[in-house]
Symmetry: C2
Subunit: 331 residues, 2 copies
């Protein structure tokens, strides 16, 4: 029997319909990768002339870069225009320049594709670059928020396979975050506690959606996950901004992320996913307003007309079954 679930944070409706997993298909999709050789991948060490000058670099002991941040050559937003104003566009149906910064974080000089191929301290170093780039943009007067995300695999919208993430800083708070904040504020007014802290408490109590815990971080399958194996990672202590991550927290967080991706790799081959950081708007001070978290969304099913037309997702694997499979994979 299909179930209707309401995401406890966003209010988003999701239908869990496991019987749909068995439906027949006339279609098959095969992804192929054309691995660039070391002389053509623009993100490999030695190919730096193919990309713009770096905005930031982390150097290793040898003096070579380990993590390199560059402007996106094909940006969705640009700093070379006026700061966008949110006027009522309906009156004019005119366009505004899309103001913002779009950066690529190249996470290794080697041609590796997955964060499980990085040493744990390399991944911890990458997380600190995320923090530092967010910290950088948090001080820009024109920016209100930045979205940091990673697309892995064709089905997740990746174009290059060399390990990288992207950061888009913008002068407005994106809708997904606005909605989550509205829910958090309403919940706090009513209950006197952060909605994410309460959710974490419930997930730890119930246990059936837990995937893994490392130090001060917990991973669980989202109660109303939109796709099979959708997994969220939260800090157990209340924290508004990812850019306030301490140096000490980077290693346990890297550990947990690697664990979760390893667990997902046992279940989905090839594994395509989006990893998205949700963090509070820059300058947000109200402690209960938000709680940063990571969403890892494996991309196994195409969104179809029902998702586009109704805004309701159909997930063919329950989060409880997904979490059990991930936990079992790790034994």
């Amino acid at each position: 029997m299909p179930e209707l679930r309401i995401d406890p944070i966003s209010g988003r409706k999701v239908i869990i319909a496991e019987d749909r997993a068995g439906r027949p298909s006339d279609f098959e999709s095969t992804e192929s990768v054309h691995p660039p050789d070391a002389s053509s991948c623009p993100f490999c060490a030695g190919q730096e002339q193919q990309t713009p000058n770096p905005l930031w670099e982390v150097l290793g002991e040898s003096g070579d870069w380990q993590v390199r941040v560059i402007p996106n050559l094909y940006p969705a937003v640009s700093l070379d225009c006026n700061h966008a104003t949110e006027e009522n566009s309906f009156q004019t149906l005119s366009s505004q320049p899309a103001y913002g910064a779009h950066e690529v974080i190249i996470e290794s000089p080697r041609h590796v594709q997955e964060l499980t191929e990085l040493a744990i301290d390399e991944l911890a170093g990458v997380l600190l670059v995320y923090r530092d780039r967010l910290r950088h943009w948090s001080t820009a007067a024109t920016m209100r928020h930045a979205t940091l995300f990673k697309n892995v695999g064709y089905a997740a919208g990746a174009s290059l396979e060399h390990i990288h993430s992207q950061l888009v800083a913008m002068p407005f708070v994106p809708e997904v975050i606005v909605r989550e904040m509205q829910a958090a504020k309403q919940f706090y007014d009513r209950e006197g506690i952060c909605i994410f802290c309460r959710l974490l408490q419930k997930e730890l109590e119930q246990g059936e959606r837990l995937v893994s815990e490392v130090g001060p971080f917990v991973a669980f399958c989202a109660y109303a996950g939109r796709q099979p194996f959708e997994t969220w990672i939260l800090p157990t202590s209340h924290a508004l901004h990812f850019h306030e991550l301490s140096d000490d927290e980077a290693l346990p967080l890297a550990n947990l992320i690697q664990q979760v991706v390893s667990q997902l790799q046992t279940q989905l081959k090839p594994l395509s996913y989006n990893l998205v950081l949700h963090t509070a708007p820059f300058g947000e001070q109200l402690p209960a307003a938000y709680h940063w978290h990571l969403e890892i969304i494996p991309r196994t099913a195409q969104l179809a007309g029902f998702e586009w037309g109704a805004g309701v997702h159909i997930n063919s694997l329950s989060p409880e079954h997904a979490a059990k499979r991930l936990r079992d994979a790790f034994i």
Copy 2:
């Protein structure tokens, strides 16, 4: 320079970034279809024993069915449970049964895949079946709304290639429609006119996004389209409910839909798309509350972390360029 656009109805933000169309890719995806032979496609004439008894059939002159409506064998919602109540799920994190009806409309007894392969009066007949099934559910006390949609091609989430659509009737109004209705009501209170009627007026005045017109229906590329070539079809006269379509309107509407899909076929090969009908909730009486329309969303780009994480779509072809290419294709 990328542009930021705000959808005039939903308020959804979309970035138009044409330069992104040229970015390099390591990935290639090939879709293959395993065309079932006539003895294995469950939707072909002669294979009726593979599917449930029909809920509705349109018979041809020979007495054979031309359009056949059956319950979905892999439903997202079910009538075999209690009517869902929208309690606050956060307090319990418990699931509710997903109450509703999920039907498949098989649009031809022949193994054809595209609505451009139907004769025009066949497609008009299919549209009248849409109307009649919506009319049927509009009288059910438990249902508030139905979403009618068509998934064509693997990238659009189709599983079977034999031409068909789906209808999902539910006891709640889906979020996409709720948002559009809120906008329409606010606009009417302020301006004294339906927001869709005003949009239509502007699109006809400006002309640059117009694709085609047939009788009382107009097609244009959406001002803030989420994907290249996203096209909307609206009746020029204000109309709340698709289920009030007159017999006479079916033929010009079929004509316009076929024209638009033919135009899209010249630009995108293979063409995968979702066609979604947006119609007012059942029982809605306030004339200004809504204006039914069809959205045709070609599926050319994978949604990536930015779309999932920020709720902002990036479209690499401007609606004005898309509309010009569609108009030119038709000359």
